[in-house]
Symmetry: C2
Subunit: 179 residues, 2 copies
């Protein structure tokens, strides 16, 4: 869909404030009200954007469950378990969709416009990787927090974020086996 492509490009290249109906319409060579022939409102466009990103992220984390994929870093043999692989895939894809991810975490975002079950599906690899609901949610929270803080540049400059991801992965990996 041309509208979504244009919106995505604006969001990525010019930031969230530039994502306005008039601006999107401009990029398509039409006027803002015409957009409402294709989408009910701005939130619907945002939801479509987020849906696309979530599908890609979900595909990556699902793939990570079944072995090292293209998104996984290569570390010392045997140090990266399933949790680590899922986290690495999650991180890579989320940072690849930085602006859209940020949009989805905005409190004003209308999560109920997403396809039913999408969020559960996307979160499922965390449950599979840990085998425990509480641990899965904890890992997901860690991952979400890391991405958000990384995206917003809230870690002190010079932080070794690879090490932080590793520290988290190891803590949860151990918790899963020692449980």
């Amino acid at each position: 869909m041309a509208v979504i492509d244009a919106a995505r490009k604006i969001l990525d290249l010019e930031g969230p404030d530039a994502l306005t109906m008039r601006h999107v319409a401009d990029a398509l060579g039409i006027r803002a009200p015409s957009l409402y022939k294709h989408f009910a409102n701005k939130m619907a466009i945002e939801a479509a954007l987020v849906t696309g990103a979530m599908v890609e992220i979900g595909e990556a984390t699902h793939a990570a469950l079944h072995g090292p994929g293209p998104g996984s870093p290569v570390g010392p043999v045997g140090t990266v378990g399933t949790v680590g692989r899922v986290l690495a895939a999650y991180r890579a894809r989320c940072l690849g969709h930085a602006a859209v991810y940020r949009l989805a975490t905005q409190s004003s975002f209308a999560r109920d416009l997403l396809p039913a079950g999408l969020e559960d599906w996307a979160g499922n690899p965390f449950y599979v990787a840990t085998g425990d609901p509480s641990l899965a949610q904890a890992v997901w929270s860690f991952a979400h927090g890391m991405v958000v803080l990384e995206l917003d540049g809230r870690f002190p400059p010079g932080s070794d974020l690879d090490a932080t991801w590793r520290a988290g992965a190891q803590a949860f990996e151990r918790a899963g086996t020692t449980r």
Copy 2:
């Protein structure tokens, strides 16, 4: 400051969309432009709001370092270490400042308007509790993720979030001792 009090009340009671200059002014019985005699712009008001919340949260987590405080849950003897106490204090205070916390995590929030060093000071208890920079950042990310997801209602209904906080605390607690 009356402006901040009014803004805080509006934000808590009517939500982030209701936090407009005209609305805040209304609550004070004045007109919107008059607010600019007290604050440079809306972002300055938001920054003041966030500063207040961060100070309170920081005080609570610092206090938690030195023993069980009023914000700490009572569990089986010996199960809650320093990390657990800091996390419990963080959670309680953040949820107590839900709307402001949400505001501070908005990507549009101007973090550079906060007092210099405030963020570092507020995050320090995580470093003290873990004794390791990477682990501290991982714990902070976990905590931040949990609060955000909890605030946005993104966990499946019926989730035992106390258990999730506990799972995270234990994983990091163990990681700290086993390191």
